[in-house]
Amino acid sequence: MIDIVLLTLLMVVAFAIIKMKDLFSVIMLLGIYGLLSASFFVAMDAVDVAFTEAAVGAGISTLLILLVITMTGRSENTTRHKPLLALLVVVFTGALLIYGTLDMPYFGSADAPINNHVAPRYINGSMEEIGIPNIVTSVLASYRAFDTFGEVVVIFTAGIGVLALLSVVPRPEDSKKITPVNDSMHEQYLVIRVVTKILLPFILLFALYVQFHGDFGPGGGFQAGVIFSAAIILYTMLFGLNTARKVMNQSVVQLIAAMGVLLYACVGVVSLLNGGNFFDYNVLSNDPVAGQHLGVLLIEWGVGCTVASVMIIIFFSFAGRREMQQHNKYVDNKDQESSL
């Protein structure tokens, strides 16, 4: 019942997003869309997914898209043609897909193939073989460690891509601009700065808690990385990019991103060297279950490091490019004034 209501709300919000032309309002509605999807996942009892959707979909991507439209402008270009052919293709493909799913078993039915071969093995064997209560973490980190390795490498590649396209090398005169920017921002943002300073240690500690509590409750490396980077992004927004670059040195952050992936891969290689398969944690210590615990801990730490660093890198690159655009506009204005 609650699923139907949430899905209807999702559809209403999606239609409103499509119809609106003001991109800023679209971002607000995207935030609501992300929160609704996360509530939907909670209603379906998928807690880890809801966690990640809340942190990424409703938090980080809203901020990143917001940064982008501060650089591109607020209104959408009106389309000048009616894309009827595209609509026909989409409807046709959708109808074919729905026709294709008519043969599949019902969602969650007991005789679907996935519930007969793989899932019972994971659910029954997880507690004895791996020994951590959260089955999602045990599947993600141990049974399917290779797939998670692929995910981490994809995140790392995204960070490299953003760096290759958008990185702005900080100029040395930027560090001289810190004090006047800080003073002017201080009087404008005084209340929020004080509250942020109270909240920041709590958010960072909570990120660490989520990282290590992922074995027992919802959490894990991805969510912890995103929360950590959200704290750093909050600091950057309120205290200026140059101050934040001094606090988190960008080359150190890039190094940590690479180290995360390296740590993950090294756990696999060490298992190989100890005589097991790639990512077989049983051989990492004398007791197989202790080996599994050690393996899960190390790779979750690698995932957390990489995700946090890549998010920080992406935000710094976007904000640095925005600052460069502002600086160029300021210089152009001054040139125009001096030439008049």
Partner: protein, 109 residues
Amino acid sequence: MDIIINISGALCLIIGSFLCISGGIGILRFPDFYTRMHAVGVTDTLGAGMVLIGLMFYSPDFLIFSKLVMILLLTLLIGPTTSHVLAKAAMHNGLMPELAQNDNNKNMD
């Protein structure tokens, strides 16, 4: 003892839900942005606080109770700050509140 806890929890939940719904009605019926923000800011924080206190009466063990205390402290800290920042940003960007028609003093920035 048990029934006292149940009734207090239910009472706090009722007060909290009433405040939240009235905040929702307020955001729809008030005429101006600043009045709507007043409705949301007050009822959001107090309603959330009441609902969380009501949930504390129902919590089975100490860890859940302490997590609820944490969420309560966070809400009490974050709610008024967000209202302040929102009003300040709107005023700074030029959104003026509507004044009554027969009011002769002008609004000072």
